[in-house]
């Protein structure tokens, strides 16, 4: 877990150093307290959990981004036992402490100009140690030197080798709805 955190920190630092080459532009926007929510709407049970500790950064000059969340920060399960099952049996937070999504925005949108943009983020979604290439629709609102990011997408459990015991099949959805809300602020002005 420390190792992965270290890596994502390293990526962030790398971006910072890349952006440092463009001293006049504020190109990297980041957050440490974005909100990520997941919702499993199964026939017998609705489970939602969210984490307020989504870390993320977007470099608007290269249009690359990275987002990560520590799995154990997801809270709000229906019972402590359920939370324990989630951590230990499904997401296996011991082996795979962090879920990440990093890549590049497809559109050639100029995010320095304030406005609302719907863009497609193409990247690698790494959950449960299984990396999948995904294109995810994202709304970006650029305003007052901040970028508000919202997105909703589906994560099929089968994509990431998360197997559900047959006995709880009716209680956990095969596709998890993930929503992301984050406000990224420019922090690398030099």
């Amino acid at each position: 877990m420390f190792k992965l955190c270290y890596i994502s920190l390293f990526v962030l630092l790398l971006m910072v150093s890349v952006s440092a080459q463009q001293p006049d532009n504020q190109t990297i926007f980041s957050t440490k307290n974005g909100k990520v929510t997941f919702r499993s709407d199964a026939p017998l049970e609705l489970i939602t959990a969210s984490s307020p500790e989504l870390r993320g950064a977007v470099d608007i000059s290269s249009r690359s981004f990275t987002f990560s969340v520590t799995n154990r920060t997801l809270k709000g399960f229906n019972s402590p036992l359920q939370q324990e099952h989630f951590y230990e049996n499904y997401i296996e937070a011991g082996s795979y402490p962090v879920s990440t999504f990093k890549g590049k925005i497809i559109e050639q949108t100029d995010l320095t100009i304030p406005g609302n943009y719907q863009v497609r983020a193409k990247g690698i979604l790494d959950i449960h140690g299984v990396a999948q290439e995904r294109i995810i629709k994202v709304n970006m609102q650029v305003k007052n030197g901040q970028i508000a990011v919202t997105s909703e997408f589906l994560v099929p459990l089968s994509d990431h080798n998360i197997t559900i015991p047959r006995i709880v099949y009716q209680k956990i959805a095969e596709e998890i709805v993930v929503t992301v809300e984050a406000v990224l602020t420019g922090g690398t002005k030099k």
Partner: protein, 969 residues
């Protein structure tokens, strides 16, 4: 025999290089703004069923050879420009738009393609489906996408793609695709969920990095069309580009490439269409420039018939493709009627027209070398009727009335060859020969000479006229057959062959079915084909003769020429055009009107096949070059059922549908697609289960209504002629359900219901009859009771006692009393049989009874009658009142101290008989039948019951008033 040989020299020679523009592919404008509701054509595509889809800046149209149908697209697509079209394995058509959207559907309707991942915001430049059904599309700005297992993936420069600006897309092998971009070409594939990209550009030797078109070339590599440097070939095995040499590409950007097999048709932006003929090892052997569909050509399409379509200047153009070329004029001078034609092995085509004898040679570039060998008739030249080049290279030209000319090998100088013995007739209609001898078809019988010149440089001729020859002197044609055989077409003896010094007829008995044979040729299988003047074409296969005429699909039986062509085709020339027979299957087709072939009026045997696979045909208006390999001329119209609609239901039905009996009005819209000559396609249809056989029709819609329930299959075939044995067929099975009222699940319950109803009705009738009988019985009983009560001896005794008393007092009153008594009894007798009597009459009876009783009881009996006037006509069972009064008197004390009050009054719809209740101490013996009788008699006539109301002081009977029918109160 010393032949006199005279050389007649022409010092007449001219060699000219003419820019011949006429032999290019002739495009005609098919659809522009006028046909397409003001829209500008952007692309064209043929779907798997054969329909032509026309993409425009305002939606998409479907063309079937007749009309341009505008296709409804979802709202968001209405004003979007179509940039590319593709077709999937399920016959769905996919449209890519220049704003990045994608739609899919069919003629009846389209839906937006909207994957969760969203769609590009840049133009879609190419759409295709690989063999594994994966959808790929290239974009101008976002790289390449593929859609697999309901998820969209992207290849772009971030993944290693050379460039994100892609111009075109082509199918590679094994699920891979080629793309062309500003950075050369790339081969993209997905293997085990991992993207593979191979970029090929400058390192591999691409001449120009900007690749606007990639096209898969056969099994091996791809053709690359570039921005500036034209054409290049990439071999993926060797990983190297090869650019055909020997020409200078100065035609601008390549926008599209079509491969006709040895001939590439290239669309350019600025220089029209470039045709590149390829020799061995993809070297360029010729190049032509064609502007007939405009300069800026953006898209080409080779349809299933081999026709070539092009999109240029916002319009759609059509041509028969490179398979048909026309040589109508050279340098502004029309070639006119071609009298004789010969395609020699030296690559030249020799022809004779009214202007003389010419040699035509196609040069590498867009030019032809035309050499005049003999002058026109008007300037003293001969009329050429036959041309032949023997194996030594000498050219022979036969004339009509002017004998024979010979050009020594390589010479352009003509020498007239004459024979003083007169063995060679001056009218020479045909020449052929082998290494040793030449044969001539003349109007003086067959003639022959040895090619080897004699000592004087002359030729000796032998003639086979009527006596020694085929029995007729008019010989129209001669052709060399196999094994030293020669074939002659005669004007009266049909087809004659010559072998080993003997003339013979191919059929035993010596009579060929047609007397006049104009032309003959042998196909590669050794079959002999002849064209007759009046009876069509005959095929001779091992002495078995088969006739091809109108009934087999030829358009006429008057055949000008037949000649064997590549691809097992027999080209049949006649005045209406060119028919084709497949020499192996016997299928008949023709070169269509859209291809520009009509009313040829060709001269006899002005046809010749060259070594490179073309047939040259002389017509009254120049020369046609037909290359079977570049066309699919034997393709039959592809029959397809376009739509099946149920009357008034709007929607379209699917094969295997079951229709209810009520919506039994089906219309089938079908078409045999044949863009060559759409209007010449005829149909035959059959509804299996309804029609006993095929029904020929020219309509493209068939309507059936009021079909009986059952299983049906609608079948339709289309053909370009009367022969349907090679036709393609489309069929549509369906079922009409029987109406609900013939189904067991309806009939059985209905029968049960009817039985139940009948039973209920019967039972109620029986009950009523029983009840009526009961009532009748009761009535009879009541009458009997009444009678009995009236003749009660006490009543009589009382009356008599009273009478005795009166007689003594007053005789007159006694008489009146007896009168009343007898009236009373008469009334009883009179009314007892009646069922109902008016109340007024009943009151009369009651009064006479009251009179009698009054006489007995005097003032002790007080009877009051108060009935309203309107009740007097109402009805009442007879003697009811009398009975009630009698009952009152019978059971109650009537005395001076306790007088009995009886009142009869009406109240609303009730008649009330009330008496004071002062029962006698010793009750009268009562059967209780009186009241009960009244009650049951009333039941016969009214539903209302009589009501008996008894209090301590009074006893009342409420009688319902019965009203006469038709009269109210």
């Amino acid at each position: 025999m010393r032949p006199f040989i005279r050389y007649f020299l022409f010092f007449f020679l001219s060699v000219t290089l003419y820019p011949v523009r006429s032999q290019h592919i002739d495009f005609i404008e098919m659809a522009g703004k006028e046909q397409l509701a003001g829209a500008t054509v952007t692309t064209v595509f043929q779907d798997s069923r054969g329909f032509i889809w026309i993409g425009t800046n305002q939606g998409v149209f479907v063309f079937d050879g007749f009309e341009y149908r505008s296709i409804n697209l979802p709202e968001a697509f209405v004003n979007a420009a179509v940039s590319c079209i593709a077709c999937d394995q399920n016959q769905n058509v996919w449209l890519g738009f220049s704003d990045g959207k994608i739609a899919f559907g069919h003629e009846q309707g389209f839906s937006a393609f909207s994957p969760d991942e969203g769609l590009p915001k840049v133009p879609i430049t190419g759409l295709l489906f690989t063999a594994d059904s994966t959808l790929w599309f290239s974009t101008y700005g976002e790289g390449l996408y593929y859609f697999s297992k309901k998820r969209l993936y992207n290849f772009n420069s971030g993944d290693g793609l050379g460039n994100d600006y892609l111009y075109s897309l082509a199918d590679g092998k094994n699920g891979s695709v080629w793309v062309g971009s500003d950075a050369g070409i790339s081969l993209c594939s997905v293997q085990k969920n991992k993207k593979h990209i191979d970029n090929f550009s400058a390192t591999e030797g691409i001449p120009d990095l900007i690749v606007q078109k990639v096209m898969t070339a056969g099994e091996e590599g791809i053709w690359v069309g570039m921005q500036e440097k034209g054409l290049s070939y990439f071999d993926p095995e060797k990983k190297s580009f090869t650019t055909p040499e020997g020409y200078q590409w100065d035609f601008g950007p390549v926008t599209d490439i079509i491969d006709y097999g040895g001939l590439l048709i290239i669309a350019t932006d600025g220089s029209g269409i470039i045709e590149v003929s390829l020799g061995n090892a993809r070297t360029v052997s010729g190049i032509r420039n064609n502007f007939s569909s405009g300069k800026r050509v953006v898209k080409l399409l080779k349809d299933k018939e081999g026709n070539l379509w092009s999109v240029s200047s916002g319009s759609l153009f059509f041509s028969a493709g490179p398979g048909l070329r026309y040589y109508k004029e050279i340098s502004g001078q029309s070639l006119g009627t071609i009298h004789a034609l010969y395609a020699a092995t030296n690559g030249r085509v020799y022809f004779g027209n009214d202007k003389g004898l010419f040699a035509l040679r196609t040069l590498f570039n867009n030019e032809h070398e035309l050499t005049q060998l003999l002058p026109s008739q008007s300037s003293g030249g001969p009329g050429i009727t036959s041309i032949f080049m023997d194996e030594t290279g000498s050219l022979w030209a036969g004339t009509f009335g002017n004998g024979l000319y010979r050009f020594a090998p390589g010479s352009h100088t003509a020498a007239k060859v004459t024979d003083s013995n007169g063995n060679l007739n001056n009218n020479i209609l045909g020449i052929t020969g082998n290494r040793d001898v030449l044969w001539f078809a003349t109007l003086g019988g067959p003639a022959r000479c040895n090619i080897v010149q004699d000592q004087n440089g002359g030729f000796s001729f032998g003639n086979f006229n009527s006596g020694s020859g085929p029995g007729n002197n008019f010989i129209y044609t001669v052709r060399k057959g196999r094994n030293g055989k020669f074939w002659f077409g005669t004007d009266g003896k049909g087809l004659v062959s010559y072998e080993n010094g003997r003339f013979s007829f191919p059929e035993p008995g010596g009579a060929f079915p047609a007397r006049v044979i104009y032309s003959v040729d042998e196909d590669i299988d050794g079959n002999i084909w002849t064209g007759s003047s009046d009876e069509g074409v005959f095929r001779i296969h091992k002495n078995e003769v088969t006739n091809f005429s109108l009934s087999k699909g030829l358009r006429t039986n008057k055949i000008t020429s037949v000649i064997s062509a590549p691809q097992n085709q027999i080209v049949v020339v006649h005045d209406l055009g060119i028919d084709l027979i497949n020499s192996r299957t016997g299928q008949v087709s023709y070169l269509g009107i859209k291809a520009g072939i009509e009313d040829l009026n060709a001269d006899l045997n002005a046809v010749s096949a060259d070594a490179s696979g073309s047939v040259w045909i002389g017509t009254q208006d120049g020369i046609i070059q037909y290359t079977p390999a570049f066309m699919n001329a034997m393709k039959v119209p592809s029959t397809t059922i376009r739509n099946v609609s149920v009357f008034l239901s709007g929607g379209s039905a699917k094969p295997g549908d079951v229709f209810p009996y009520s919506s039994n009005h089906l219309s089938f819209e079908y078409i045999g697609l044949w863009y060559n000559s759409p209007s010449k396609v005829t149909y035959r249809i059959m509804l299996e289960g309804h029609d006993p056989g095929w029904v020929p029709t020219g309509n493209r819609v068939a309507v059936y209504s009021n079909l009986r329930p059952g299983n049906y299959t609608f079948r339709v075939q289309s053909s370009v002629n009367s022969d349907f044995s090679f036709a393609s067929e489309a069929s549509f099975p369906f079922r009409i359900d029987p109406p609900f009222y013939t189904r067991w699940w309806f009939i059985v319950p209905v029968i049960l219901l009817i039985i139940l109803l009948a039973y209920l009705i019967l039972r109620s009738r029986i009950n009523r009859i029983k009840r009526e009988q009961q009532l009748l019985k009761e009535k009879a009983e009541s009458e009997f009771q009444l009678l009995r009560s009236q003749v009660n001896p006490h009543f009589l005794f009382n009356n008599f006692s009273t009478l005795m008393a009166i007689i003594e007092e007053d005789k007159n009153v006694a008489i009146e009393y007896v009168g009343k008594l007898s009236a009373f009894f008469r009334n009883i007798l009179e009314y007892r049989d009646k069922e109902l009597i008016p109340l007024s009459e009943e009151l009369e009876i009651a009064e006479s009874y009251i009179f009698l009783q009054k006489k007995r009881y005097g003032e002790n009996l007080r009877i009051r009658i108060q009935t309203e006037e309107k009740f007097l006509n109402s009805l009442i069972p007879p003697l009811t009142l009398q009975l009630l009064i009698e009952n009152a008197v019978k059971h109650n004390i009537v005395s001076e101290s306790r007088p009995l009050n009886v009142s009869i009054r009406s109240e609303q719809d009730t008649l009330i008989v009330e008496n004071t209740l002062q029962l006698k101490k010793t009750p009268e013996i009562s059967t209780g039948m009186g009241l009960e009788n009244i009650r049951s008699r009333y039941r016969i006539y009214t539903k209302r019951e009589i009501v008996i109301h008894e209090t301590e002081k009074s006893f009342s009977v409420y009688l319902p008033v019965i009203i006469k029918k038709g009269e109210g109160l």
